[in-house]
């Protein structure tokens, strides 16, 4: 992995998901080496967008696969996901995404 000061930016957009409705924005994780921060905010329209800003350049195909699986697990609409990544592994990325979705879904029964 080539670490550089320049961040790589990636954009994903999914449609056709189930609208989540209004929710309070949620922030999980921290920006630290091998970790990431995920911010989830409501969107007006029926899309689900993910903005990735990562210090680990050159992993776009892996991000794409991770996002595809995320959409499969959580087919949601009406949210904007912003990710600040510092070289987290895909497992940690998926975990944080799941945690963020759990946050906005409210406490577990």
């Amino acid at each position: 992995m080539s670490m550089s000061n320049e961040l790589e930016r990636l954009h994903f957009e999914f449609t056709g998901g189930r609208p989540v409705g209004p929710f309070v924005p949620a922030l999980v994780g921290v920006v630290g080496s091998g970790n990431l921060e995920v911010l989830v905010e409501p969107r007006e329209d029926a899309a689900c967008t993910v903005e990735v800003s990562t210090s680990a350049r050159g992993f776009a195909p892996i991000w794409e696969a991770v996002m595809e699986d995320f959409r499969e697990r959580h087919p949601l609409a009406g949210l904007r996901v912003s990710i600040n990544d510092m070289g987290a592994t895909p497992a940690v990325v998926s975990l944080r995404l799941d945690q963020a979705v759990a946050e906005i879904a409210g406490p577990r029964p």
């Binding site: 992995m1 892996i62 696969a65 592994t89 895909p90 497992a91 940690v92 975990l95 799941d98 945690q99």
Partner: protein, 559 residues
């Protein structure tokens, strides 16, 4: 026909006597019975070591005969040269300096850890001929067959005037080295930290020891098995939950060995919390072949552990071990008696399960820690992580694994027998996004570079029974052909190229059959995998759990 040869039958004894008398001449009045002054150590070695000798320099996983290593590296290469070094571990620069200086040319060993890169360079420059990279038991075995040392340079804590040695908790390899050398007609030189009137206990009888040198500084001992719980990640907690619920509970694993690392430390720290919540106390993890891992303190204190036999010790655990003699093997003096040879034999034959991490796994399940340009060796993992084909004792775990592997087979391959559980536990990506799953192990390239007859595979794929990643568990015992095995491995390889290359339909079918099990298939909710489950979340917590008996070293390797 008379086929008897005409020869003398005591050449080794004669040669030994000749060398002892040469030492007497070289050291003169400064030789006090067996005691040699430190300033004369190199002179002693020049007197008792001959060119082309096999020399065992005690280099262990933890303690090092560092003073004798320096003394050997200082001999005159015109007098002592072309030695064949046989030793467990290459840990110190001096272990390779002897090759740089032409004092030694051949090497048989097990593990080279920190010296792996320099070793690869020296091999490439043809300064070192490697006989083989052994497993510990194999190397020890060869000490009694065709690699018996002519001279052994060992280390102990103290010696009395008869040469009786007290090793303290880090007995490690000393008994096996001295036994082979002494009874094989060789010469044993020991460095000690202290000369005493009476040793606290006799770890090595004095009449097996020829010379004792008090080293100017205490022998180096490194803490290797200390892992700071503060660095255990949620992913490691999740994997530990899967190991406990999906493997330990499933097979009823009573006897086991844990490899070194944060993954296994997480399991140890989850026993008194998560394991307890599953009602597993008393049902799993009762007997261990294991160094005194600080991370196991909470489980011991919670009453999970009945016995632990150790390969070596761990700095800081001395007082804790001394206070728990029901659990650890201890001498009449109260301190730990470790023994690498016996604990390796126990780990190989008497344990139902080995679980450890690795750097690379290929599509056949072969596992390797070799990387290009670095000859690291194996240490104990291949003995622990290999099915003990000679085993007969039928524990529940062993029999169940055997049934899974042999179900439906006929003839010799279907004859009922058990199998050891060998689990490779890896996150799909290591640090810096290095994939743990690869099409081809770096070991193949290394074999080419170093002229090895085989790729240095640490654990052979046909011994690996389970591959555990954050994505789930692949049970290779249930795979019926190479194609299934490959897809089972791809099916837990996450977003690595190997994982992305899976046949999704076949992986789904393997999941149907329980060959692949995801956390949810095991009834594990990822959201429960938090650090709050760890019985200790810091070194300080471990100290507290030990009632203040554990005294962590100031510095420890924490990789």
């Amino acid at each position: 026909m008379d086929t008897r040869v005409t020869r003398s039958w005591d050449t080794r004894a004669t040669e030994r006597a000749r060398r002892l008398s040469r030492a007497q001449t070289a050291l003169g009045a400064s030789l006090d019975n067996k005691r040699v002054v430190a300033e004369h150590a190199t002179r002693l070695l020049e007197a008792v070591i001959a060119p082309f000798d096999r020399v065992c320099l005690e280099g262990n996983n933890q303690k090092q005969a560092d003073f004798l290593a320096r003394s050997l590296a200082a001999v005159d290469a015109a007098v002592v040269h072309d030695l064949h070094m046989v030793q467990s571990v290459l840990a110190l620069p001096e272990h390779l300096d002897v090759f740089d200086k032409g004092i030694a040319t051949r090497l048989d060993f097990s593990f080279s850890g920190p010296q792996g890169t320099r070793l690869a360079r020296l091999v490439a420059q043809r300064r070192i001929q490697i006989g083989a990279i052994h497993t510990y038991l194999e190397l020890f075995g060869r000490y009694f067959v065709d690699l018996t040392p002519h001279v052994a340079l060992v280390t102990a804590h103290s010696a009395d005037r008869h040469g009786n040695l007290f090793t303290g908790p880090n007995t490690e390899d000393t008994p096996v080295i001295v036994e082979a050398t002494s009874f094989g007609g060789g010469i044993v030189v020991a460095q000690v930290n202290e000369l005493v009137e009476t040793v606290p206990r006799v770890d090595i009888p004095g009449d097996w020891v020829d010379f004792v040198v008090r080293a100017p500084t205490p022998a180096l001992v490194e803490p290797l098995f200390t892992r700071d719980p503060a660095q255990i990640s949620e992913i490691q907690v999740l994997m530990a939950m899967m190991a406990i619920k999906g493997i330990y509970a499933e097979y009823g694993v009573q006897r086991l060995n844990h490899g070194i690392g944060f993954d296994t430390a997480a399991i140890e720290l989850l026993l008194p919390t998560y394991g307890e919540s599953l009602g597993l106390k008393g049902k799993i993890c009762k007997h261990w072949a294991l160094n005194p891992h600080p991370a196991l303190i909470p489980a011991i204190e919670a009453g999970w552990v009945e016995s632990i036999h150790s390969f070596g010790s761990e700095l800081g655990m001395e007082d804790y071990v001394r206070a728990r003699p029901d659990v650890f093997f201890t001498g009449r003096d109260g301190s730990l008696r470790s023994n690498r040879a016996f604990s390796q034999a126990a780990g190989h034959y008497a344990c139902d399960l080995f679980i450890g991490s690795t750097l690379q796994v290929d599509l056949a399940g072969n596992s390797s820690t070799a990387t290009t340009g670095r000859i690291a060796g194996f240490g104990g993992a291949p003995n622990m992580g290999a099915d003990a084909r000679g085993r007969r004792h039928g524990s529940e775990a062993w029999l169940k694994a055997g049934r899974e592997a042999r179900n439906g087979l006929q003839g010799a391959r279907g004859t009922p027998r058990g199998q050891k559980l060998v689990v490779q536990m890896v996150e799909t990506f290591r640090e810096h996004m290095e994939p743990a799953f690869v099409e081809t192990l770096d070991a193949w390239e290394l074999a080419g570079q170093a002229g090895l007859p085989l790729p240095p595979i640490m654990i052979y794929g046909d011994d690996v029974t389970h591959v555990l990643t954050e994505e789930g568990i692949a049970n290779l015992l249930l795979c019926r052909d190479d194609g299934e095995r490959e897809q089972a491995i791809r099916g837990v390889a996450g977003y690595t190229a190997v994982g992305l290359g899976r046949d999704r339909k076949r992986v789904a079918a393997l999941r149907e059959r329980g060959i692949i099990r995801r956390p949810e298939d095991l009834g594990i909710d990822q959201r429960d995998a938090t650090r709050n489950l760890l019985a200790a979340r810091s070194i300080r917590d471990l100290v507290r759990a030990s009632g203040g008996l554990y005294r962590p070293p100031k510095r420890f390797r924490n990789w």
